[in-house]
């Protein structure tokens, strides 16, 4: 086995050197290159335009928001929209710090639950076969095929029955019960060599030790990805019908209320949107390489 593995890259390397000259001949027409570049640039602009528009509007003074025709630049940038936002938030009954605390609890526990429960189950399902494991694995794939919003109503009824409505748990448990995280984690763990687990088993380690000491350190990119995806989801949640007490609502609820409720004017709304989008975008930028490493194993086999 080991011999085979060392031989293969060498053979491949030989092939590469042999083909180097031919590779240069790979035909690519310049016209198509230009056309594809234009397409990429055009969609890039389409993708960026609303985002830039939001950023610019957040710094526009009132006098510049309403000019004809609207401009994508700002002549006298101002932070007034942010001050106004602070002023509106201060006038609320529930202090902003409380909403931030709610978001922190929901995001923290939801993310922790997704990563921990997801990785435990993913490890067992990826590396062992036991009665029911196959059924569980296929149920997880089927669960990807419909969105949780479809079953929000019966889910709400179940939450009511369990007395969880209007607590953080209603939002947290719904997210933890989702399967995307577990699915990605499982695919990633399948790629970890069985020999590592066999060696540990021979040394007397049980499944829990293997999970914690071997699997978890090795699938760092996977759980970072789960943290990011879970964070994005939890950050955006408004609590919906699951949380109705004002003092338990998350930040997104207040901010989206300000925008869609018409309380805030255009400038302030843009300031809100800018804050809402900056957080997940920054988090993604920091973690991009880990996320992409995990996503390379996201495929559906057979």
């Amino acid at each position: 086995m080991a011999k085979k593995k060392t031989r293969q890259p060498a053979a491949r390397h030989g092939l590469i050197t042999a083909l180097r000259n031919r590779k240069l001949k790979r035909r690519r027409s310049l016209a198509v290159d230009i056309l594809l570049f234009i397409l990429l640039a055009a969609f890039g602009i389409f993708s960026l335009f609303p985002l830039i528009f939001t950023v610019v509007n957040a710094f526009k003074p009132m006098s510049e928001i309403f000019i004809f025709p609207p401009k994508l630049t700002v002549d006298n940038p101002t932070l007034n929209n942010f001050y106004d936002l602070g002023f509106i938030l201060e006038s609320f009954d529930v202090p902003m710090s409380r909403y931030i605390f709610n978001t922190a609890v929901i995001t923290g526990l939801g993310t922790l639950g997704t990563v921990l429960l997801g990785s435990m189950a993913a490890f067992a399902l990826a590396k062992y076969e036991f009665p029911g494991s196959k059924m569980m694995s296929s149920l997880i794939v089927y669960a990807l095929m419909f969105s949780a919003s479809v079953t929000a109503i019966p889910n709400y009824l179940i939450m009511t029955y369990l007395g969880l409505v209007d607590t953080y748990w209603a939002v947290i448990l719904t997210a933890v019960g989702g399967t995307l995280g577990l699915y990605l984690m499982k695919n990633f763990i399948v790629g970890i060599p069985d020999s590592l687990i066999e060696a540990a088993t021979i040394d007397g380690a049980n499944e829990f030790t293997i999970y914690w000491k071997i699997i978890m350190p090795l699938c760092k990119p996977a759980w970072i990805t789960l943290i990011i995806l879970s964070f994005q989801q939890m950050w955006g949640t408004t609590g919906g019908v699951f949380i109705y007490s004002e003092e338990l609502k998350p930040v997104s609820y207040v901010l989206s209320q300000l925008v869609s409720g018409g309380i805030a004017r255009t400038g302030v709304s843009s300031a809100v949107s800018l804050i809402m989008m900056t957080v997940p975008v920054v988090v993604f930028v920091i973690s991009q390489s880990n996320v992409l490493e995990t996503m390379s194993t996201s495929g559906m086999k057979d």
């Binding site: 429960l117 969105s147 687990i197 709304s269 996503m295």
Partner: protein, 302 residues
């Protein structure tokens, strides 16, 4: 490692795989309660009349008959959802792949940057509300301002309240935000396609990039392509929030009404839970059917 588990009596299996069951159990419980049970509950309640104040009473197929025979608004919603999903599903899927493929040829830094540009709209929370400003009905809206400035139209168009424009605008906005998890999956997948395959392909007589794409890249990406299909189909059928936020509820002449907004109407506004569950079951079946159909098709192609 993979010891066959068949023909083991239940108790013996439980004893032998105790640790594996313990690893799966926490997730399995949450998954069952908040993902599986809601589906079963929806099916059960769809045969009842239930308004949350008194116990559900069995009514047989009445809800289904009403939905299909009498509820004209549902038929509008069904038509809109199908049009919407059949357009945005495949289009967004092709876009995810096309842009991932184009970006893949760029050097590292521009690639990371373009990934962010395309991915950002899908994680930016409620930034899509900026489309409301772009398609605003007054002359301060971007679309109106520039169409009038350039002399294409003479009067401001009521974009979000004109029946003919509602669906196209929702489709544009959905496409704008649709480069999400599948897009990342494709980028990551393209990175893992073995470079030697392309070189070998050049020897075998592959002439241009289109043949390369068809004979090497696509087959190597099949697992990611199947995963991406599931993600795009599911999200294109579940659209509701952008419709509620951009064109309001109910939209003019129900032009932006989807199965999800119909569900929202009966579940969250009218509290007719039995009927709402019937709508949920129908949407659930449509999503599952489309997903399984597309999976079968993709499997046959490869």
């Amino acid at each position: 490692m993979m010891v066959s588990s068949r023909k083991l009596p239940f108790r013996a299996a439980l004893k032998r795989y105790r640790n594996q069951y313990l690893l799966v159990a926490p997730f399995a419980i949450v998954f069952f309660l908040f993902t599986v049970l809601p589906v079963l509950a929806a099916i059960g309640l769809s045969f009842t009349s239930f308004n949350m104040t008194s116990a559900p009473s069995f009514v047989g197929l009445v809800n289904y008959v009403t939905l299909i025979v009498e509820d004209d608004v549902f038929l509008t919603a069904l038509k809109n959802t199908l049009v919407f999903a059949l357009l945005t599903g495949p289009l967004s899927y092709i876009m995810c792949f096309l842009f991932a493929w184009l970006i893949n040829e760029l050097p590292r830094i521009p690639r990371a940057l373009m990934t962010l540009v395309f991915y950002a709209p899908s994680i930016s929370g409620n930034v899509y509300l900026v489309w409301k400003l772009i398609f605003s009905s007054d002359t301060y809206g971007w679309a109106n301002a520039w169409l009038m400035k350039l002399g294409i139209t003479r009067e401001a168009i009521l974009w979000l309240t004109t029946e003919a424009y509602i669906m196209p605008i929702l489709i544009v906005v959905q496409l704008w935000m649709s480069l999400g998890v599948s897009f990342l999956s494709f980028i990551a997948g393209l990175q893992t396609v073995d470079k030697a395959m392309y070189e070998a392909g050049a020897v075998e007589g592959i002439k241009n990039r289109w043949q390369e794409l068809w004979y090497i890249t696509l087959p190597a990406m099949k697992p990611q392509l199947m995963f991406g299909a599931v993600m795009q189909i599911t999200s294109s059928f579940a659209v509701s929030q952008i419709s509620l936020d951009l064109v309001g509820f109910p939209s003019v002449n129900y032009a932006g009404h989807t199965i999800m907004t119909h569900l929202h109407d009966y579940g969250n506004l009218r509290y007719e839970m039995g009927y709402a569950c019937t709508i949920a079951v129908v949407l659930f079946l449509i999503m599952l059917f489309c997903n399984i159909l597309v999976q079968k098709l993709l499997r046959k192609l490869g």
